[in-house]
Symmetry: C2
Subunit: 379 residues, 2 copies
Amino acid sequence: MKAFYQDFKLGIVGGGQLGRMLLQFCPNFNVHACVLDPSADGPCSGLANEYTQGSLQDYDTVYAFGKQVDLLTIEIENINIDALYQLEREGLPVYPQPRVIEIIQDKRIQKQFYLDNGIPTADFILVDNRADIEAHADFLPAFNKLGKGGYDGGGVQSLTGKADLARAFDDYGLLEKTVDLQSEISVIAARSSRGEIAVFPAVECIFHPEYNLVDYLIAPSSLAAEVLAQAEELAKRLIESLDVVGLLAVEMFVSKDGEVLINEVAPRPHNSGHQTINANDTSQYEQLLRAIFGLPLGSTAINKPSAMVNLLGEEGYTGPAIYEGLDRLLEIDGANIFLYGKKITKPHRKMGHITILGNDMETLKEKVQLVKKAIKVLA
Amino acid sequence: MKAFYQDFKLGIVGGGQLGRMLLQFCPNFNVHACVLDPSADGPCSGLANEYTQGSLQDYDTVYAFGKQVDLLTIEIENINIDALYQLEREGLPVYPQPRVIEIIQDKRIQKQFYLDNGIPTADFILVDNRADIEAHADFLPAFNKLGKGGYDGGGVQSLTGKADLARAFDDYGLLEKTVDLQSEISVIAARSSRGEIAVFPAVECIFHPEYNLVDYLIAPSSLAAEVLAQAEELAKRLIESLDVVGLLAVEMFVSKDGEVLINEVAPRPHNSGHQTINANDTSQYEQLLRAIFGLPLGSTAINKPSAMVNLLGEEGYTGPAIYEGLDRLLEIDGANIFLYGKKITKPHRKMGHITILGNDMETLKEKVQLVKKAIKVLA
């Protein structure tokens, strides 16, 4: 096989912000990067060596894209899986493997995988429609999750009791028992094509009370060391059981009695790993490149405590984005902005993020509040 | 003026590795980047939003390039200065300013500027040809520097005594008295279009004994605090006297008796600032963007001690580059590689660099030796 730095083409299916940051790391390895994305002017346009506009759900489009490259990876799961299987059968390395993506694409299959492999996860019941949910009303309070297609907080609803049944999704999905939460954490694991595994230290996710999106996160998590060790071990077991080549972002619930349960996983770079760019020896993006090229994985050590704040489109504004308060933001020591190149803002749209470095947790949390007050995405 | 993130074009004159790393930071600010470079497939090709192939010395080419953009910066000094002046006269912001580039392009004018502004620098004599040098043979030992065009260790020779006179450049230049060196250090200063100044901590440069290029550097420098404070103060004074908007990389000699003397400066990102990407709150590349867009400058604090090793083409090999020992290299904890996308290696050509993070100076210096043994650029 030719070396990855010699006339080698890496294909990335999906051209959102995760692809954009991955592209920022490709030059360090002399990687020629090709991106497939449906939008004409998404976050990766103008930045990839080659950019193809096309549907990620269309078999022919994904297949034709794959035939032009030497290795294929993804930055979104919602893609035509048959095309990936066919490319793999024809000898193209597809990392993460189609088998892994297929399990993760469907939250019902994902949940079943945890059960079958003894991976702790919240209790659940499969449901096919609203009638099914009504028949299991005694299972509430629970989260009702669509089987497929949920993303960025979509496809999930909280059903607290019978009064909520009328607005329940009438769709193929599952009910997941609500956990009495102490905290939500995330661990990003990497596994290389040689089988080497490395795990980033757990980060703590603080969710936005309304939007069901990560509002900010803190790295490392301040939970008890034994809880974090358990979480990191679980991420390791999971990436091994799934036999992933690439990254596996593992979102977990920590219950009030310290139990660690898998919430969901993503086989790609993840929102909860952005801060690794500034704060760790190796970023999640570089780690993905190392993993899929069969290079030694990098040290995941944290060099400085950090926080990551998502920059969401302000409620009530839709149109060409204006970043109000950039000056106030950039005056905050250790704050770095990452804009995603999206021309149009919409309420709650992820327009960028801010990474903050700080010497200790207290300073960091103060800076998070300053950052959130400093900047707004208007139109 | 429109905001820098809205249909705004940044022009970068020069498309080498410094431009390449600058491009890696442009997406964070939604900056649409246009590069002008003479090569068809240089380090920035395929990565810039727009890439124009053309001569940097040709008035019409540089002028036409500038007319297409909203702000112009540079990543190499050796460019047509008349075109930059004309663009500036027509209202284009050119940062650093043509006036600054013109002073720095000619080492004789640069030296005279230091004298006129009371900036300490090694003694020198201007020479127009070899006969002039012979007439000043009693000034040796000295460095003979060409007035214009020297780059990456070229255009500089050491003349230790009369025996060396026969091989002295027969050209417009200067003789600079050899300083009895304790150390060579470098400080990168930034000044924004609003006049704010920030200075990165001084780094120590260890030169390759033969090639007259930085072999590796250590950040921060381990020299006495009062010497470093003097160096950082000097860099600040210099960027103020020159009235630069952008970066000024200031290379300095520290004599055995602790005197700090300016060696040379560059008004752009610099080899001695690469490690800021991994080790500091703000990288030199982000700092340049903040400076020219009139944003608050970032904190220059070092988060972890680091070293930077240049990856030079191995003696005796010319042709398509092969990076032998990448695996051994990437097994070293805290080592990150940055390849420059140059297809052809030549002896001593800068093909990339490696940044190393370490907990203390001793570990770092050990890792530098491991890194240098691990990887070779062959063909």
